[in-house]
Symmetry: C2
Subunit: 217 residues, 2 copies
């Protein structure tokens, strides 16, 4: 199910004992050397570290020109397969990272349906007294880290009735209650149904789904 | 005009030759030691470094419990004066950081009008091959780093007609064209007028300004 290249990365990280290993982030300027202890930058920094680690381990990758774009890494010459997204979360809490902006994701699937097949490499870390510890890593498909919620067919971040981001299922604890989707197909249906349920939608779920099918899915 | 505590910080940084000095940010994990070269985390990291630098230089400060909150640093026991905001931008381009979310800023002034008097300590940096260089620093009031624009009385980031963030005047080059406001009063009027000009407003500028005056300004 997972891309062969992502699988190699995940397996090599596990074999090299990344889980349980400790590191640090140090900023030096004007004679002050400081171990970073604020979590707001950790996700970006782990992603950048992963690039350096792949380079050292002779694993081919390239990143889009704009680092805000999807995906975080291309793992071969193709732009439609072996796509890797990197996500990080503070392991002392539940995973609560933004998987993607809901509107942008829905729209992007009409031109880039292969986005559904991207692999997610997820780092659960802790940061105490400047020690960054990798507590666990996961390789996942999007439908394995998403689930329904009480309000919508897909768990999303809602502010003043408006949907912002797609938010994860608690795969860390494999929490009871709403369970993750069983397949890509179920996840796509949840996108369609959420659009149908959503009063601020620009497009109905049914017409989005029709467009989605028409681009060859 | 600037707070006495911010002034000490700015003067000490200048005296210690921060401008022109070089530093680095290094992440170490699993035997890979890497000098960070991606700009997305630099703002957060410089802010954290500043805390460490103040500690080393015996300058009193404390941060709000939630690092997302205003201000970045309290510089004395008061919660209404000697407030410091830290902003950073890539000196190879024009300043384009978010000064504040427009809606939230407008709303916050009704309960925290002293926010208008916060000092802004601004770092212009470059980052090449893992070398972080501080090219310049500024101490500013909000009305000195904001200006009108063609579309609104205040320069703001607009997406699909909606106002998101307050965006800076190019104080790096002191650019021609729209100039920064001359006083706090002019800036407040620009907030009021922008609300009046804005079709998605929740509140008219005039009624916002009336509420603002009624809280004792």
């Amino acid at each position: 199910m997972y891309g062969e290249k992502s699988r190699i990365i995940y397996d090599t990280l596990i074999k090299n004992h990344l889980v349980g290993s400790e590191g640090s982030i140090k900023i030096e300027l004007l004679g002050v050397s400081y171990l970073v202890n604020d979590k707001s930058s950790i996700g970006n920094l782990i992603q950048e570290w992963l690039g350096a680690w792949m380079l050292k381990n002779n694993i081919y990758f390239r990143a889009p020109d704009n680092s805000q774009e999807f995906p975080d890494f291309y793992l071969d010459n193709s732009e439609i397969k072996n796509l890797l997204e990197v996500k990080c979360f503070d392991f002392s809490a539940s995973p609560n990272f933004d998987i993607a902006n809901f509107d942008a994701y829905i729209r992007s699937l009409l031109t880039k349906p292969y986005r559904l097949d991207a692999d997610y490499l997820i780092f659960g870390y802790t940061l105490h007294n400047g020690i960054l510890k990798i507590e666990n890593i996961w390789l996942k498909k999007i439908w394995e880290i998403t689930c329904p919620s009480e309000q919508f067919s897909l768990r999303v971040q809602v502010k003043q009735g408006k949907i912002f981001n797609i938010r994860p299922y608690n795969f860390k604890n494999m929490s009871q209650g709403y369970k993750p989707f069983g397949s890509k197909r179920e996840f796509i249906f949840a996108l369609r149904n959420t659009l149908n349920e959503y009063k601020f939608r620009n497009i109905s779920g049914d017409s989005w789904y029709k467009s989605f099918l028409s681009v060859g899915n």
